[in-house]
């Protein structure tokens, strides 16, 4: 199971609203692009939208709980997105190796776009995490991830589909988490101010 290592800190009081807004916008764009990618892949492989190929989550990070502090939420999100990108890169490589990467069609273009958008989102969540005082250490490490994928072609296709769904899932999670951040920031800022006031009064 993934271990979490963080540096002790108080919270994301210095989080830039602009960075959060930018990260949210990127996540929303990624979500849209991811939905197109899934649609293209389903069309290419004749999968129906309601087909379930997921037995369990590929990304081994628990979803950010509302009970967690901002810093931990951001860490969970950032870590999951990092894993998503690793899986996506591996999926692209495996697809081209095993299924042929000859002609570049709409699907291939969309796949590349999603990968680049995900990288951009990671830069922004990384900034937020850094601001919040979190440590950008991926757990598990990229070596620990099961990135090989299946060798049987059909299972490889299902695996790729699972990865796309995973990216889609974590993009939605990112939007939810990022949209919840401003209120959290406000509350924590207020709490920090109150604590400081109490200490000053005692003195």
């Amino acid at each position: 199971m993934a271990a979490r290592r963080t540096r002790g800190m108080t919270g994301g009081s210095d989080l830039s609203r602009a960075t959060v807004a930018r990260a949210t916008a990127i996540a929303e764009l990624l979500r849209y692009e991811c939905s197109i990618l899934l649609e293209l892949y389903r069309k290419k492989e004749s999968f129906t939208a309601d087909v379930t190929v997921t037995e369990s989550r590929l990304v081994s990070v628990p979803p950010p709980s509302s009970q967690l502090e901002t810093r931990d939420k951001l860490w969970c999100l950032h870590s999951a997105l990092l894993q998503c990108r690793s899986f996506l890169e591996r999926a692209i490589t495996k697809e081209e190796e095993q299924l042929g990467g000859g002609k570049k069609g709409d699907y291939e273009t969309q796949r590349k776009m999603v990968k680049e958008r995900l990288s951009l989102l990671l830069i922004n969540t990384g900034e937020l995490l850094k601001t919040a005082g979190g440590v950008m250490i991926l757990t598990p490490s990229s070596e620990g991830l099961e990135l090989d994928g299946p060798t049987i072609l059909f299972e490889l296709k299902l695996w790729v589909y699972r990865i796309f769904e995973e990216v889609d899932y974590w993009t939605k999670t990112a939007i939810t988490t990022l949209q919840a951040l401003p209120s959290v920031i406000a509350k924590e800022r207020a709490r920090t101010t109150r604590v400081r006031s109490t200490r000053s009064a005692r003195r």
Binding site: K44, F47, D50, V51, T52, V53, L99, G102
Partner: protein, 909 residues
């Protein structure tokens, strides 16, 4: 004793018979069960193939005939296949094998093989071996990643773990009609499908979907085995063989494409879709087979081409082509060969000279050819050349073209100018064509024109013309011939002179008739008769017939008597004059002149000017001014006049084929309003419409006019008579009603001649005179014929005076009735007189003398003899006389004074 011995023999007999029996059954056979059978059964598999090996039991060694092994295949405990293997006596003791390919992947269900031997009617016990199916913890589809040929039938199975619920099996893009799903066992389902589509992407998915929506599957590679044709091998460098082929459908998805091997080499030479490969070989002059092997998971194909590669040299193109020693009209090219062997080959090379899009190819020969000289080039001109070569012997293929090389030739003096002349009024215009870039060979600095009279050649005039002018107008004495010479000059010098002789104008010279010509496709196709005077060819020149144009011309060779005349200046609907001249050593001689349109255009409406109409009875003539050529955009072939009756919208037309006509008459029209439209008839249709409107009311107008004129004439006449009578009433009265003494009647009745019947009138034939007779009349027309046409105008008059003598003293002057001078009209016997004119006292009726009338006027009422007592003497023999008689006998004029009787004037009608 014998009985005892017999009883003792029975057991012995039984023993013997048992022995015999046991001897007979010595091959192991007892009561239908064969002891000879199979042992050491071993069941293995390779893909979907099951392989069974076994050995004979030792008891089989005694079998002396063919031994049969019966085999049964059971799939999931259902009998699926039966087979027999025959073993000859000499094979007994060896290991036997048998194989069978299952339609189902072996993972799908257990495959069991049962085996027993049969010899004659005896069979052994069954021996069975089983390959168990796959037990899985999750659903699986089999076979996985297998290759199938398009058109084959395949069976896939879905093996479910216990508890999973099967929903369906499918292949995308296949219809249910091509697929059939069956249940093999509780947890195994099979899908049989006719594979009629090659895999589009990486592979074709075979899906097994469970309830709820979970999908499992496998990939199937569906494609075609190699299909190689048209193998052709050659050499390019004389050190290797290059082969190419076509392979249309040899495709399988990624990682399973067809591989090509040349000359049985294990090295892959090419992969689909490549269709060429090369391999180093020793090229020698002998025929040999060049074999290509194409293989993919679905099959292998070998193809051979037999060839002597020395006869199949496909050269590489020349390299490093350069232009050396570039001159004005020639240049030399050099190049290199990348293959040294080419220098030893006898070669043919082609040089493609591209001259501004126009390609010219010239050929060069030689061993190891590496240069070429290009001649007849245009000075001061840019060329683009490329070279290709081939072997001179055993032509196989041209090399591809070398890279293009550009060069620019040096300049030279201009080419001689193309000069012509145009004589206008007293001016001689010498005109020449602007030298094209490929004729000027450099920038033209000016033109020099010299001229002289043909009679005084030693006296030359000279002038220079700017380079942007291409004509020179000279006011010369056109009655004398002139020789004009033009040269062009550029930086390299002057061109050769171009001379033209201007003929003297000769008003008495022979003229040529102008004929018409119609162009086609934007040009005129002109032909003419050969002329012996045309020693240096012919010149065709053309210009707009309307004038004001710069003449254009074309020179053709002496043996050519036709030309297609085209000019970018030609316009449809414009008339051109084309002239053909014979080119002579002296002045050109006009041979032919034509006029025509390169393309006729419809003439615009309103062509006809000053259109006038004139009614002529029931006809209406429409006339117009002659049409000028300027307004004719097509040859006029005639005219059409359309008359549109406004009353009933009926159109009638009248036409003429005379193009010179300038009027058309519409005939037999009726009263009413008409629109007259006149159009010109041309080859492109009727056009140039011009309309006028006219109303025809012929009868009414003329009738009214005639009536008015008649009434006026009558009124005037009556007025005149009245005035005259009034003024001379006394005279008239004295003349007409002289005081006549009352006659004294001595007797009554018997001597009267009340009825002037002819037969009762006694007169001698000699007394008949052809003069008008004057009959007395009481104011009413005689027999009502007085004013009828064709009726004689009769005067009732007594011959040679009045019957009563006293009247003699009032003898009127002779009446001159020019009956002979008045022409008789048709229908009228002779008399021109048709009108009645009243007399205050008498109604005089003129009757021509030739009127052979038996008319004997009756005595009118009130004209009784009794009333004649006041001066008249009744006469019993009235006589008729004619005007002829009057002429013959002027002494016996008609007793009618001209002042009393007015002769009617002949009317206009």
């Amino acid at each position: 004793m014998v009985l005892v011995k017999g009883i003792m023999m029975i057991p012995w007999l039984l023993l013997v018979s048992l022995f015999c029996k046991s001897t007979q059954d010595g091959n192991g056979q007892e009561s239908g069960v064969l002891h000879c059978g199979a042992q050491n059964l071993k069941l293995t598999n390779s893909s979907q193939m099951i392989l069974l090996t076994w050995e004979d039991t030792p008891s089989c060694s005694t079998v002396q005939d063919v031994l049969i092994y019966e085999l049964e295949v059971l799939i999931a405990d259902k009998k699926e296949h039966y087979d027999e293997v025959a073993v000859t006596p000499d094979q007994i003791g060896s290991t036997h094998s048998w194989n069978w390919k299952s339609y189902l992947a072996l993972e799908c269900a257990s495959h069991s093989v049962r085996l027993r031997s049969r010899y004659k009617n005896h069979t052994s016990q069954w021996n069975q071996e089983t390959l168990p199916g796959l037990e899985t913890s999750k659903a699986e589809v089999y076979p996985k990643g297998k290759h199938f040929q398009v058109g084959s039938t395949a069976t896939f199975c879905c093996v479910l773990p216990a508890g999973d619920v099967f929903d369906k099996m499918s292949l995308p893009e296949y219809s249910s009609a091509d697929m059939n799903t069956t249940r093999i066992s509780n947890q195994t389902y099979a899908l049989t499908v006719h594979l009629n589509q090659a895999s589009k992407y990486s592979c074709t998915d075979v899906k097994c979907e469970l309830n709820p929506d979970v999908v499992y599957g496998a990939c199937a590679y569906i494609g075609y085995p190699p299909n190689v044709t048209d193998l052709q091998c050659e050499t390019r460098d004389l050190q290797s063989v290059d082969c190419h082929w076509t392979d249309k459908d040899s495709s399988l998805p990624f990682k399973s494409v067809t591989e090509y091997h040349l000359l049985e080499s294990p090295t892959i030479c090419a992969k689909w879709p490549e269709t060429t490969c090369s391999q180093e070989v020793r090229v020698d002059a002998r025929e040999r087979n060049w074999t290509l092997t194409a293989s993919n998971p679905l099959g292998e194909v070998k193809l051979s081409d037999t060839a002597d590669l020395t006869k199949r040299v496909h050269m590489f193109p020349p390299e490093g082509v350069t232009a050396l020693s570039v001159n004005a009209r020639n240049v030399s090219l050099e190049w290199k060969w990348t293959v040294q062997q080419y220098y030893n080959l006898s070669l043919i090379c082609q040089v493609n000279i591209n001259n501004h899009g126009e390609n010219t190819i010239s050929e060069y020969f030689g061993v190891g050819l590496k240069f070429a000289v290009l001649n007849d080039l245009i000075p001061n001109w840019t060329y683009n050349v490329a070279i290709r070569c081939r072997t001179a012997q055993h032509f196989w293929k041209w090399s591809s073209w070398s890279t293009n090389v550009n060069f620019h030739t040096k300049g030279d003096v201009p080419d001689a100018l193309d000069v012509w002349m145009q004589v206008m009024d007293n001016q001689i215009i010498t005109i020449w064509k602007m030298p094209l870039a490929n004729q000027s060979h450099g920038h033209i600095e000016d033109y020099e024109v010299t001229w002289t009279k043909t009679t005084e050649r030693e006296r030359q005039n000279r002038t220079k013309v700017a380079p942007n002018n291409f004509s020179l107008a000279l006011s010369l004495d056109t009655t004398v011939g002139h020789i004009v010479t033009v040269t062009a000059r550029n930086i390299n010098g002057s061109s050769a002179p171009s001379t033209i002789t201007i003929p003297s104008s000769n008003p008495d010279g022979t003229r040529v008739n102008t004929s018409l010509i119609i162009g086609s496709s934007g040009s005129f196709n002109l032909s003419w008769s050969a002329s012996p005077t045309a020693s240096c060819g012919y010149i065709v020149d053309w210009c707009s017939t309307l004038g004001n144009c710069t003449v254009e011309w074309l020179k053709v060779s002496p043996n050519q008597t036709n030309a297609s005349i085209f000019s970018k200046n030609f316009k449809d609907g414009l008339r051109y004059t084309l002239s053909v001249y014979a080119c002579t050593q002296g002045a050109p001689v006009l041979l032919q002149r034509r006029e025509g349109y390169v393309g006729e255009k419809k003439i615009q409406d309103g062509l006809f000017k000053s259109v006038k109409g004139q009614q002529q009875d029931w006809d209406y003539e429409v006339s117009w001014e002659p049409i000028s050529r300027r307004e004719q955009t097509a040859f006029i072939q005639g005219y059409v006049l359309y008359c549109l009756d406004n009353n009933n919208n009926k159109v009638i037309n009248f036409s003429t084929d005379n193009p010179e006509a300038n009027s058309l008459t519409a005939r037999n029209l009726k009263n009413g309003s008409y629109i007259f439209t006149v159009k010109a008839r041309t080859a492109v249709g009727e056009c140039g419409a011009t309309s006028i409107t006219a109303t025809l009311n012929l009868l009414t107008d003329n009738l009214i006019g005639t009536v008015f004129i008649s009434l006026a004439a009558v009124f005037g006449l009556l007025s005149l008579i009245t005035i005259v009578c009034y003024r001379h009433w006394t005279c008239i009265k004295d003349t007409v009603y002289p005081p006549i003494p009352k006659p004294v009647l001595t007797s009554t009745g018997e001597h009267g001649c009340r009825n002037f019947q002819v037969d009762q009138c006694h007169y001698s034939e000699a007394d008949i005179m052809d003069v008008p007779e004057l009959y007395c009349r009481a104011g009413t027309p005689i027999n009502g014929f007085v004013s009828q046409e064709n009726m004689p105008f009769v005067f009732s008059q007594t011959p040679k005076g009045y019957y009563n003598q006293p009247l003699k003293k009032f003898t009127p002057p002779p009446l001159t009735l020019p009956s002979t001078a008045i022409p008789s009209q048709p229908g009228l016997p002779s008399s021109p007189f048709r009108r009645e004119f009243p007399n205050a006292s008498y109604n005089l009726i003129m009757q021509p003398g030739n009127q052979q009338s038996n008319f004997c006027p009756e005595l009118q009422e009130g004209m009784s003899l009794e009333r004649s007592s006041d001066g008249y003497q009744p006469h019993g023999h009235p006589e008729t006389f004619t005007t002829n008689q009057t002429e013959e006998d002027p002494d016996t004029p008609m007793s009618c004074v001209s002042t009393y009787i007015l002769l009617p004037q002949s009317s206009s009608r």
